[in-house]
């Protein structure tokens, strides 16, 4: 339109030149009863999510998505009444950012690594990643469960929160980067450290900075300086042990491994020292 515009252009990486969904449905999807197999190769994220929605509207409840390479928001747009109809979605290869963002009740299984923002503001359902996950995993999550087989990135479980019976759970098989559980306001995080050598400490520093609710269970060792100043370390009590037991067994159900062997190691409980960490910093 003008010189300025031509020079920089306005590229819409997400919305330009989209293929129509009915064309995609006929070329990319093969169904067998309520199962559908989708080939996501080369699709833009909106095309893939259009296709997922269309496939579900056509009656499929079990979806297998193959050749996923970086497409974002898988599962986000599947907020469809009736809510009772929960979907089972298998993702092969590597989903993009915000996998299962705002997820509401569906189950997503990833055979590969996930990127940043897994389960961002997730409401309910289950995400199981046979691999690693990136930064801000389970950010602001408020319900459902996430299982990550290997490591997670920075600021995992940041601002996770709970309300009454809605308690989110994140189980990480490996270790995490810095700021695990920052601002955490509720929910349960289980960090198993299975890929750490004997005596090797967890990677994260500033664990639980600003934490004011919820609990982090941590297997393996940790130096004092790795903790944020708003958390205290305690041995798990009976209720904690029941929690740990339950989620370790679920983890092993998904990924294999011997739960008793994992449970044999020492667990520590990290909880906030105050529900109001910043209650005293103001002059009224």
């Amino acid at each position: 339109m003008n010189g300025f515009n031509v020079k920089f252009g306005f590229r819409d990486n997400f919305l330009d030149n989209l293929q129509p969904v009915d064309f995609l449905y006929h070329t990319r999807v093969s169904t067998n009863g309520c199962c559908a197999t989708i080939n996501a190769l080369g699709l833009k994220h909106k095309e893939l999510n259009d296709l997922l929605r269309e496939t579900v509207l056509q009656g499929s409840t079990e979806l297998v998505i193959n050749n996923v390479f970086g497409q974002r928001y898988i599962g986000t747009r599947l907020f469809l009444p009736p809510e009772a109809n929960k979907l089972h979605i298998e993702v092969n290869k590597f989903p993009g950012n915000d996998l299962g963002a705002f997820l509401n009740g569906h189950q997503i299984i990833v055979h590969g690594n996930a990127q940043d923002g897994v389960g961002n503001t997730m409401n309910s359902g289950e995400i199981i990643v046979h691999g690693r996950a990136g930064d801000v995993t389970a950010m602001s999550m408020r319900g459902g469960k996430i299982f990550i087989r290997d490591n997670v990135g920075y600021r995992t479980a940041i601002h996770m929160k709970e309300y009454r019976e809605k308690v989110p759970v994140l189980v990480v098989g490996g270790t995490a980067q810095d700021f695990l559980g920052e601002y955490m306001a509720g929910g349960i995080v289980l960090l198993l450290g299975l890929n750490l050598r004997q005596g090797e400490p967890h990677r994260a520093s500033y664990i639980g900075t600003g934490m004011h609710g919820g609990v982090i269970y941590l297997r393996g060792c940790l130096a004092e300086h790795q903790l944020g100043k708003e958390v205290g370390v305690f041995p798990p009590d009976d209720r904690d042990k029941a929690n740990i037991d339950r989620y370790v067994r679920e983890y092993c159900n998904h990924f294999g491994g011997n739960p008793d062997q994992i449970l044999n190691e020492r667990f520590q409980k990290l909880v906030p020292v105050s529900l109001r960490p910043y209650g005293q910093i103001y002059a009224y």
Binding site: F4, H45, R53, F102, R142, Y163, A185, A283
Partner: protein, 504 residues
């Protein structure tokens, strides 16, 4: 607590008029008035008076008079009384000095230096009482071009259209969350928005489920860094989704609803445990760049099946034009700019008074930048922060805004007297408190009617001024700087505002 502070207000009681009805005692949540039955006399605790004028307004005999107490210290134009008072508060507590409402410092109000045009001779003015005058505005992205296909004699729109939300008047209530303000105040805003055909903004405190059926249709819901109450039902019930990046009253810092305000109802709406602090982190932790912002914008569009415009609200800061350009390129349908005089329920005084830039300059800069880059049609621009009157609103539209957010003006219409003590949770007017004894002072029917009246009078005034300009649709005024002239402004200010000096 602060034993060396002088009272800020003088409370005077005309003993000959006072009938000892004790209204003042019951109305004051700060316990300034105390009646001793045995002695038949009132005792005063002046140091607790915040000057909200509730007792004065409700005294049936007009016996009370509350006025600011002049600084009794030695006059000093550098070390003013409030500077000294804050130092004493800090010395006593070691804490951050809090304040509420908007910036009260004498930073230049550019609205007062901009004057509107009117038609004389060469162009007829229009009488809005007898001629149609269009104020309806559509918020959202507009297509670059309109393609029309004609087949078999019928015209059909071929361009892709984007979700747009109509408002009958380009005035929208600012984001004020349930929790910061009372349920009664929140609901009054919703009711008024519904009746007047405009929108209200839930802020980041969620939208109560039982209000969704009736009021979600006129709600802008916020997705802020705390993500309180955000789920798919919340997002899908609204008309517009707003990502809150910043707030004019406290750019760059987060929010903090103290635990004592998190009542059962607030906890339920925000979906957090009772009595814990509701902390909104300063940044959204999934947004560290324009690319990340784009990720959240499209996450919200995905979550709502691309049926709703997504707005991004930022505080007016340095380089705001470049930031706004990035926001539009990231895919936002609406950019909301909140200037330094925007209000708040609680903010550190140092931040409120010193961080950010005036809305007028930011708005003009953003509008110019978006036009220069040829992307102005891709978003609507909302102006917020210190819009005090219909004249400010119409000037904002002439400077390039599509619509105007009104917050403080709406609060004043509800009863607020700008005492700046919102953060104490003891609002005697029942607006910024969760205490049921105080909140029941606000009757939602009456209060929403006041708000509707406010919108009606502003819309009449805007129509009158538009008619005077010889313009019969608000669209024709938008971004039309020719209708503005500056007085008492320096050259650089005129340049940034993009207006000529008066007389030119």
């Amino acid at each position: 607590m602060y034993d060396c502070l002088l009272p800020e207000f003088v409370v005077e009681r005309r003993e000959d008029s006072c009938i000892r009805c004790r209204v003042c005692e019951r109305q004051c949540a700060n316990e300034v008035h105390l009646y001793d039955t045995e002695l038949d006399r009132f005792f005063l605790s002046e140091k607790d008076c915040v000057g909200c004028q509730r007792c004065v307004a409700l005294c049936p005999t007009g016996a009370l008079y509350v006025h600011p107490r002049q600084a009794d210290y030695r006059p000093n134009s550098s070390w003013t009384r409030d500077k000294m008072q804050n130092l004493k508060k800090q010395a006593a507590t070691g804490g951050v000095v809090l304040t509420g409402s908007g910036n009260d410092k004498p930073i230049r109000v550019y609205w007062d230096h901009l004057l509107l045009n009117a038609s004389q001779v060469t162009n007829p003015s229009i009488d809005p009482l007898r001629e149609p005058m269009e104020l309806q505005t559509f918020l959202g992205r507009k297509p670059d071009t309109l393609k029309i296909e004609i087949s078999a004699g019928k015209a059909k729109l071929a361009s892709e259209m984007f979700p747009n939300v109509p408002v009958q008047i380009p005035l929208v209530f600012s984001a004020m969350s349930l929790g910061a303000i009372s349920y009664q105040a929140f609901k009054s805003l919703a009711m008024a928005a519904k009746e007047a055909g405009v929108l209200f903004n839930t802020g980041e405190g969620g939208l109560p489920v039982e209000m969704r059926d009736e009021y979600a249709d006129c709600a802008i819901v916020q997705c802020a860094s705390g993500r309180f109450g955000v789920d798919l039902d919340y997002l899908n019930s609204a008309r517009i989704i707003e990502i809150k990046i910043g707030q004019g009253a406290k750019p760059g810092i987060g929010g903090h609803l103290p635990g004592e305000k998190v009542s059962d109802y607030i906890a339920q709406t925000r979906m957090i445990p009772l009595g814990t602090d509701a902390l909104s982190p300063a940044p959204q932790h999934d947004i560290y760049s324009i690319e990340d912002l784009s990720m959240l914008i499209y996450a919200l569009k995905e979550a709502t099946n691309y049926t709703k415009p997504v707005s991004v609200k930022i505080a007016a800061v340095h380089n705001v034009a470049a930031i706004a350009s990035g926001i539009v390129r990231a895919g936002a349908d609406i950019v909301a700019i909140d200037g330094i005089r925007g209000g708040t329920g609680a903010a550190p005084l140092a931040t409120r008074d010193n961080v950010g830039i005036p809305l007028e300059l930011a708005l003009a800069a953003v509008d110019k930048r978006l036009r220069d880059e040829g992307i102005r049609n891709r978003c609507s621009v909302m102006a917020a922060g210190g819009i005090r009157s219909s004249a400010d609103a119409i000037k904002a539209i002439a400077l390039g805004a599509d619509g105007v957010y009104i917050g403080t003006a709406a609060l004043v219409a509800m009863g607020c007297t700008l005492c700046h003590k919102c953060y104490t949770g003891r609002c005697n007017w029942g607006i910024c408190t969760q205490d049921p004894y105080l909140t029941k002072r606000l009757n939602t029917e009456l209060t929403s009617q006041k708000l509707v009246n406010l919108l009606r009078s502003w819309s009449h005034e805007i129509q009158e001024m538009l008619g005077g300009l010889g313009v019969n649709a608000i669209e024709s005024l938008r971004g039309n700087h020719e209708h503005l002239r500056g007085v008492g402004l320096e050259e650089w200010e005129l340049n940034i505002l993009g207006v000529k000096g008066a007389g030119e």
